[in-house]
């Protein structure tokens, strides 16, 4: 990707009629393949003894960190039901931005199509988690809850926050890729490395923010409507899990 391309969507590797393979798709596949291969290789020989392989130790640190964050944001109960979704978002965004140390690679998250797809997944996950956990009535009541006048604003808020989620990640990842491309043209020595390092830091922070915001949205779809019955249920559950 050079300065004139707005996003990796415009870099086309292979084209045959209707089917196009652009840089976004190819690099998404590369990230997926490397991450799947790594986790398969690491989890092939898991050990519970005191002699833990280095790679397993590293992945355990990541999973423990994610579980801790999810538990704190969602209010302390069962992080494991959110871990597959929120954890995947975090790992994919973090992996996609970590790979930018490889020359010629452009983060697939620097394309609005990727981030819009992930924000759409979060948009769908909010009602799905809420309906599975609390039933459709409790979920729908949130929209008319102090008064039905608020209905259009709540719906508008749901849509605009998903839009913000997509644009925030796209803007951050694309701007760091673009700054690197411009600096290589203007000052090709040493200086771009500093900005690449800054880009790596920004990528990690954005991955964290995306995952935490997804978790906050999912949690807000459930806890706002919490009835006294549900909270009593949860206290019971917590007491049970404490024993």
């Amino acid at each position: 990707m050079d300065v004139t391309h707005l996003s990796p969507d415009e870099v086309i590797f292979w084209e045959s009629g209707f089917v196009k393979l652009n840089a976004t798709i190819v690099f998404t596949w590369v990230v997926m393949a490397v991450m799947i291969l790594t986790s398969w290789l690491v989890t092939r020989r898991l050990s519970t003894s005191s002699d833990v392989p280095k790679a397993q130790n590293m992945l355990e640190v990541v999973v423990e960190f994610l579980r801790g964050e999810i538990a704190e944001v969602s209010g302390g109960d069962k992080p494991d039901s959110y871990l597959p979704f929120v954890g995947t978002l975090f790992l994919f965004i973090a992996g996609a931005s970590l790979f930018s140390i490889v020359p010629g690679y452009v983060a697939p998250t620097a394309s609005l199509s990727t981030t819009a797809a992930m924000a759409g997944a979060v948009f769908l996950a909010v009602p799905i988690y809420a309906i599975v956990c609390q039933g459709p009535r409790t979920f729908l009541r949130r929209y008319v809850e102090p008064s039905p006048v608020m209905l259009p604003f709540t719906v508008l808020g749901d849509i605009s926050r998903s839009f913000a989620l997509a644009v925030r990640l796209f803007g951050n990842m694309m701007s760091s890729a673009k700054i690197a491309a411009i600096l290589v043209v203007v000052i090709p020595f040493v200086f771009p490395i500093v900005f690449q390092a800054l880009g790596l830091l920004i990528g990690m922070i954005q991955a964290y923010i995306f995952a935490v915001l997804a978790m906050v949205y999912i949690a807000s779809g459930m806890t706002v409507t919490e009835t006294s019955e549900a909270s009593a249920d949860r206290t019971k559950h917590r007491e049970r899990s404490a024993h």
């Binding site: 707005l6 964050e69 704190e72 644009v167």
Partner: protein, 89 residues
């Protein structure tokens, strides 16, 4: 000056102004949030986890206004809809 030149001129100047004003306003907002966050961290180091997480999420929200400005300036430069409108009509 034909219409194409006027559109290009207006787009470039507006894009620069959008990023300049948008970025400085967002930077002031983020600096104020970070100021309070650091003060709270110094007062209550025990609550570091909660404060840091809330600070990051809040900064993300503040930053999105700056990023909207950045995206609008990019649209003006790279994908200006009025250029196509002129070429089509």
């Amino acid at each position: 000056m034909d219409a194409q030149t006027i559109i290009a001129l207006g787009s470039v100047i507006t894009a620069g102004l959008t990023v300049a004003i948008g970025a400085s306003a967002a930077a002031i907002g983020e600096a104020r949030a970070l100021d309070r966050g650091l003060a709270s961290l110094a007062q209550q180091p025990d609550e570091a986890g909660g404060i840091t997480r809330t600070l990051f999420v809040g900064l993300a929200f503040i930053e999105s206004s700056g990023i909207y400005c950045f995206v609008i300036s990019l649209i003006l430069i790279f994908a200006n809809p009025f250029v196509d409108l002129l070429a089509g009509g």
